[in-house]
Subunit: 417 residues, 2 copies
């Protein structure tokens, strides 16, 4: 083994000069590394932004795979190759849902994806030449930064809601983003939603700068309270058909039905969808046929019921987390109050680096979370972190927040010495 | 509807100036279009290079999904997110198979993919900057041309087995391909396999020019007769570990177990695999967890038995096709005699364009096949076509070849007038 290892070292090829320039922008995801911690039963993890498996419709899925594969004619479709755009009944269900949500579109505007990360990747492939700019929220979804970076883009960041002047100066300094990427509802990582005013501002900006909008709606259906706001796609279109607009709408079944199926979808103007289907053909041909058939069969009867039950349970967990934070967290910390989704975003006093806090927390209290730094396009802000309440029950949440709160108080005192 | 269509026309956005340069290289696949014909029961189709669903292990798959989803602990893994490199027991099975086949590697050299097209796409992403050259067989797998083109590469083509001088001049004129892509066994589209001498020549070329080798082994296990030849990866490595080599080995479960699952894999030196995992994270996070678990469970007991039965049946179909061709095809045509896989490659007299033959065939005889032109990197050769025997029974093969043979004879006579 040691000899083998040695022989590898002395003969290994120097690949670097032979790789594409984009390979310099490939970096791993801190979050994917941290997900490994979930498996350790001694850790209380608020790290993974993943659904609770006990809330997924396991038995319905089991029965449905059974039916698909027991019937040779159905199995013949589910096990065989399928058209790259996806299974028509599934695309029809998605288009009908979208139309109800104010987006005038049809099944031919919908492309089935292998998870919603693929939608971000495809948008990057379609729009981004090296050096092109993408306008993102700051912080934003880490996976989006990874996908865009791997196509050698540069980032601009959206001003905050109250920075009226910054919105104007962004226009004035000749900004030219090809794409504006936003997660309007219960954002990963902050849990906050864009106001109606900000949605309209982004649309106006996109029109002024001739940018496409990619909106990522992974959590839209998991709203616990408050009024649902229109999607940017619906707002931008008004009564027009999606073909006339500039927005791409990304949705997924990973949070409600199951991440392990890897089924998501992108709705887009026909002129773009045609190109996106070619990208799908060239990149992985199609999404799993049997998963698409199973979803098309269970969604009409089950989706609303499944999501209604999840809303109740995740709301209970959010309430537990917010309650525990106000009880145990130091007054120097502040945090968001999400109206849905999986995440609370914590801001510490500026001197504290959340990555250091995590290291100490894993050693001392065995509580995990995700440091905020890598969610910022410029990696600038280190005193924030993301907490997910989706996987832990209220007792565990109370215990974990109590331990973490005590650690934070101590670290703040120490930092002030 | 008409009004709606009209309103789309007058308001549609002009996207072209806002798209990435690579979007100009996105084109649809003729084959994917032709696959739609398989559904028409009046057509005898030799077009699709797809497995016969009745030869796939449907009942074993059904029972296995049932078991995975009936057990909450298993389902918790299969329905949840999973590490990007893939499910360890599946990667271990693959590494063991590869090691038996002469490729010294371990599970940590294996990345699970969403279909083998994704392996070609990832290799393109890893190696190809715009303008870089890829060396391919001519003809070669159409999907590979699509994937490489979408990253704006240029193609060089491998000389034929007998063109000794051309191999030398390729070196001498300063060629610098980043990647050599080959399908060594029962190639799609020609059905022919590379001789041992050619495999060694390619390896020497790769070493001289410091190129990576990507070998695509979609059909390797479907050998009907003749001795199995070592893979290029095994030949290049000899006793060394894969980490010390320059070859990437692409395999898939789409031909033997089911295309609809979209599970394939790439084995590569660790230094490249690390980058490929980052590409996987950025592009679609992971391959379906439950599909990977199901495969890991059924492969050890079933793979050899399933593939043995398929070899017998596909061999019977190949024999029927070759026999019918020698009975009904005009003497001016020639064709390959594959030792495995799904395909026979037909060459017509030079004046005949196989795309025109297909059009007439669909009108008159209702027999479908794939014109050869789009398998050539330079699209130069029009008088060839691909025939697949994988989907039709011997009676249908005899009937279809008889009809097609009569048409070909007539067209040849007409072309000579």
């Amino acid at each position: 083994m040691t000899l083998n290892h040695f022989s590898r070292l002395i003969t290994e090829h120097t690949w670097h000069p032979r790789l594409a320039a984009r390979s310099n922008h490939l970096v791993g995801s801190e979050i994917r590394e941290l997900l490994k911690l979930i498996g350790d039963p001694n850790i209380i993890s608020f790290a993974g932004g993943v659904p609770d498996p006990s809330l997924l419709p396991r038995e319905e899925l089991r029965d449905c795979y059974q039916r698909q594969l027991a019937d040779p004619r159905k199995a013949q479709i589910g096990l065989q190759y399928m058209a790259s755009d996806g299974y028509l009944p599934l695309r029809e269900w998605i288009a009908a849902q979208l139309s109800e949500d104010g987006v005038n579109c049809s099944a031919s505007n919908v492309l089935i994806l292998n998870g919603s990360q693929q939608g971000i990747d495809f948008a990057a492939r379609l729009f981004i030449d090296p050096g092109d700019r993408v306008l993102v929220q700051n912080p934003t979804y880490l996976g989006a930064l990874q996908a865009f970076r791997s196509f050698e883009c540069a980032f601009d960041t959206l001003p905050g809601e109250s920075e009226c002047r910054a919105w104007q100066t962004y226009r004035e300094r000749g900004a030219d983003p090809k794409l504006i990427y936003v997660t309007p509802d219960f954002q990963n990582p902050t849990g906050i939603s864009l106001s109606l005013a900000t949605r309209l501002r982004i649309i106006n900006l996109a029109r002024d700068l001739d940018s496409a909008i990619l909106e990522d709606h992974a959590y839209r259906h998991l709203r616990f309270e408050g009024a649902m706001l229109p999607s940017l796609t619906a707002l931008e279109l008004g009564p027009r058909h999606i073909d006339a607009g500039r927005a791409l709408y990304l949705g997924t079944f990973s949070k409600i039905i199951a991440p392990g199926l890897r089924v998501a979808w992108l709705a887009a103007p026909a002129a773009l969808l045609e190109k996106l289907i070619y990208i799908k053909q060239a990149s992985d041909v199609q999404t799993s046929a049997i998963h698409q058939m199973v979803l098309a069969e269970i969604l009409p009867a089950s989706f609303s019921r499944v999501v209604a039950a999840q809303r109740i349970e995740y709301r209970r967990r959010r309430d537990s987390m917010l309650e525990a934070m106000s009880r145990y967290f130091p007054e120097e910390a502040s945090w968001t109050k999400p109206e849905g989704g999986f995440f609370v975003w914590v801001t510490l006093p500026e001197g504290l680096d959340a990555a250091n806090v995590l290291r100490q927390s894993l050693q001392e209290t065995r509580v995990a979370f995700v440091p905020g730094k890598s969610f910022f396009a410029d990696g600038s802000i280190a005193h924030t972190f993301r907490m997910s309440y989706s996987l832990a029950n209220p007792e565990k949440i109370d215990k974990g927040i109590k331990l973490l709160g005590a650690l934070l108080k101590r670290l703040i005192v120490e930092s002030q010495r």
